[in-house]
Symmetry: C2
Subunit: 136 residues, 2 copies
């Protein structure tokens, strides 16, 4: 666990929100969708099935917690959850709020178009709302 080091691309493409039990929770810098990323603090893990069973259960419950908070605060049509890792191999789980008619709806967000930056105030307010939802 001490050997864990966040992948550089994940670090540059997202902002820290909080640490959950197993994971670092981060917000994608792409403002087109409310897009969270959970990164288990385990070194050299690429696939979910490489985690211990206990870590898998932790990841499941942390994903659950984040997905239901995201649904609640955004009123999303659908939450999209994905662990792809075709580009960044460090295990990370995407939790994204999707809305009927959003960019690339109903297709996936990954690999679509160009990221749009957040306005800093809006990003900070969203992170604050999210932290509150996760601690209530």
């Amino acid at each position: 666990m001490d050997d864990f080091k966040l992948d550089r691309r994940l670090e540059s493409d997202s902002d820290a929100v909080m640490r959950t039990g197993l994971c670092e929770l981060r917000l994608s810098k792409d403002a087109r969708w409310p897009w969270l990323i959970l990164v288990p603090r385990r070194a050299d893990i690429t696939e979910i099935f490489e985690l211990t069973p206990l870590d898998q259960v932790m990841l499941t419950f942390e994903t659950d917690m984040v997905a239901s908070a995201l649904k609640k605060i955004t009123g999303a049509t659908k939450i999209n959850i994905g662990a792809l890792g075709n580009i960044v191999r460090q295990l990370h789980v995407h939790v994204i709020a999707r809305f009927d008619g959003d960019a690339n709806w109903p297709n996936p967000v990954w690999g679509f178009g160009k990221a749009e930056p957040y306005v800093a105030d809006k990003r900070d307010a969203f992170i604050e709302t999210l932290r509150e939802a996760l601690s209530s």
Copy 2:
């Protein structure tokens, strides 16, 4: 559980492989990628966080079992796991074997191009190999 009825689109787009503890395991009819789908046998569930905690753990372990078997029998570069449901709302989890240079690599499979049908013999052989891997 008795009220569960497989969504018609999932039924027409995939073939039955086996029943796992919680889920129906199915093979997508799109031969471009080895593409499995787990459908929890629970009525009226759209999001993973709507499942009970026990069912979430079951789904996690069945996904783990299927993903590691798929990796083993295909030698995939990366397993992609996703629960999107933007089109078909009945909860289902995709487990897909991806290869460097495959159709749409490194982007997602969903919404890309047109499905290519399996040759029946090849599909049956793959299902057989998968069943064996899952029971060993």
